[in-house]
Amino acid sequence: MNDKNIAEKSATSKSMAAKSMSGASILWECLEREGVTSVFGYPGGAILPAYDALRGSKIHHILVRHEQGATHMADGYARASGQVGVAVATSGPGATNMVTGIATAMLDSSPIVCITGQVGSKLIGSDAFQETDITGVTLPITKHNYLVTHASEVARTIREAFYVARSGRPGPVLVDITKDAQQTTCEFDWEAAKPQLPGYRPDLSPEPKEYEQALELIHHSKRPVILAGHGIIISGAMNEVREFAERTGIPVALTLLGLGAFPASHPLNLGMMGMHGEAWVNHTIQEADLLLAFGMRFDDRVTGNLKTYASNAKKIHIEIDPAEINKNVKVDVPLVGDLREVLHELLPKVESIDRSEWLDSIDKLKGDAAVRDIQNLPDSGHLYAAHVINDLWRQTRDGDTVVVTDVGQHQMWEAQYYKHEKARSLITSGGLGTMGFALPAAIGVKVARPEAEVWVVVGDGGFQMTLCELATIVQEKLKIHIAIINNGFLGMVRQWQEFFYERNYAATPLLNPDFAKLGEAYGIRSMTVTERSQVVPAVQAARQHDGPVLINFRVEQEDTVYPMVAAGASLHEMIRRPSTIVETAADE
């Protein structure tokens, strides 16, 4: 409903400013005013009044097949667009099914608002049918949550929920609305329902002295590295980071969620750091004398053993969340604030310094990495996941392509072999590592950016966790391409068993259905690829097809992601891919 309509309608009511509406109608009205055009949901008893009121709304509702899917879709929507994603579910099991998706959004700072129905306010605490204390359940995995028991609280709560979700360090907010709060009516006045959050302060900025300290460290460093994280994308600081790197001549290493924040093809881009980062990237970090952490949180997957992590380096941490400062890594200068604003302060003051010596020495660190690269190994006739992903990249690199991955080996190969040039072109579950994320998240991506080419890269394990959403894709007529990297194993777990559990492949082999037949059963054009020569034709066929396509890539079963820093090992202690050429050479 637009402002004009409201004005016309309210003119006939007693009050000029307010008009009487049900809590359910207020909910949709507020969502519209917050800019929501699509929501992902699943109806049920306690949320039925809201669904009944949906017909009066312009919002498009996407019917999911499982509430976990709704949360991942909202998450994918948020990550692809930077806007708040919305998921809707009923009370009890509907709400608890959302838990995994909420935790996923929490750990990756993704702004979503989850609306759940709740039993009538008089029934709360009585163990009524489908009653769950969902605000209690989600307390530690939401940025904030609300229980709404009166229609008069709906408007302010929704406004606050959106504000909290998207401001500062973004995150999920859950709003639990009792059935009677949806059904009863009250005066609706948008203006009067302004957020009242006296204790919430998302806008922090560093002290002038801290800027000076940071500049001094930058100008005195000989071997600096920028650690580029997800915060760059959230803050929209891609141009500022690039300008900073170019002006200072400082190379950039990226976290998994940072991929795309700095162009892969840029000469100062080193690549991904951490557990499956390239060897030279990790060596560079270990040899650095200054780390500039931009919107990243020193997760254990990027630091390895903290005792030996970049032990000769000073650390500058630019981070919006003060609780991240000194959490894992003790830093010398914290700059707490929005990354983009902080870089705007720093940029005019940084000096250009010749770093060619340092950059040359990093080049030497690359050493035999190219020889070990699977792309350069002789063709054994096997189909490797890395080949599939690299071919996919070559085919789709020039377009507006978004790759949505699941979690596991294929995710790491994607990070290594798909070269991301743009922010929000890779959507993946980093912090929580949620299998089953990719397929529903891709739906959210496609809804947010219908013009983008969306590829799901998913393992055969994770695919089966949320494959019910294939029906959602078909029902919504979404052109999404699904590449199943099918190795018949829970590959990453198998890899850990290979390295650390004496190849005891307990509970990792998978007996899978014929995924192509499965896709066809949903009405999705499907094919199976078993040889490298078929990869490019399959990708081309998928791109040309007017509708969703599923490709079942049957890849090498016991392939391994290299390099690997074992959990708890030092960052420079990597397990490298054996190479026929370098096997005899002294290894790090």
Partner: protein
């Protein structure tokens, strides 16, 4: 070391759970937590003591601030402050022991709030170590039951930024009776 925080929160349902849940979630062990009203009806005040080192203490403060309903956090550990605990101690007091117990209570400036044929109930307010001191000397008589409120704390001198406290600053340090009296 033991850190003492004064935390002002919105007086809303569930806020205590959010604060307590934060400590559980981040694996910090609460030593004591008290909560009550303030001079403003919409604001509640908590005094929380936690065993934490310097970095942990700073992170606790930052994490408390992340809670949307938290208005102000002060770590008053190193600030001049008044810290009080209240205890009620039911002590066995037979006819012959009664006068000794009463004498001890008076030395500690504690009050007898209930008298029964076989016991006395003593109320004492003060710093924690003062209460520990009374407890120590009463123990030989037989402590039948005890309850303590946990500490409440307030900075000396000027009012805190969140508290629009009434009256002039009280510059004079209040007498502290320690158990070494």
């Amino acid at each position: 070391m033991l850190n003492t925080y004064v935390v002002y929160v919105e007086n809303k349902p569930g806020v205590l759970t959010r604060v307590a849940s934060l400590f559980r979630r981040r694996a910090f062990n609460i030593d004591s937590l008290t909560v009550g009203r303030t001079e403003k009806p919409e604001v509640s005040r908590m005094t929380i003591t936690v065993d934490a080192d310097y970095d942990q203490a700073r992170r606790i403060e930052a994490n408390l601030y992340k809670l949307v309903n938290v208005l102000l956090v002060e770590n008053i550990t190193d600030q001049p402050s008044i810290v009080r605990d209240l205890a009620m101690i039911k002590v066995a007091a037979t006819h012959e022991a009664r006068s000794h117990v009463l004498e001890l209570a008076s030395v500690f400036r504690a009050r007898v709030v209930d008298v029964a044929p076989e016991s006395l109930t003593i109320e004492i307010t003060g710093a924690e170590d003062k209460i520990d001191g009374l407890l120590e000397v009463l123990r030989p008589y037989g402590v039948l039951e005890m309850v303590r409120t946990g500490i409440v704390a307030m900075r000396r001198g000027k009012s805190s930024p969140a508290g629009s406290t009434t009256g002039p600053d009280e510059g004079v340090a209040e007498e502290d009776v320690s158990h070494s009296v």
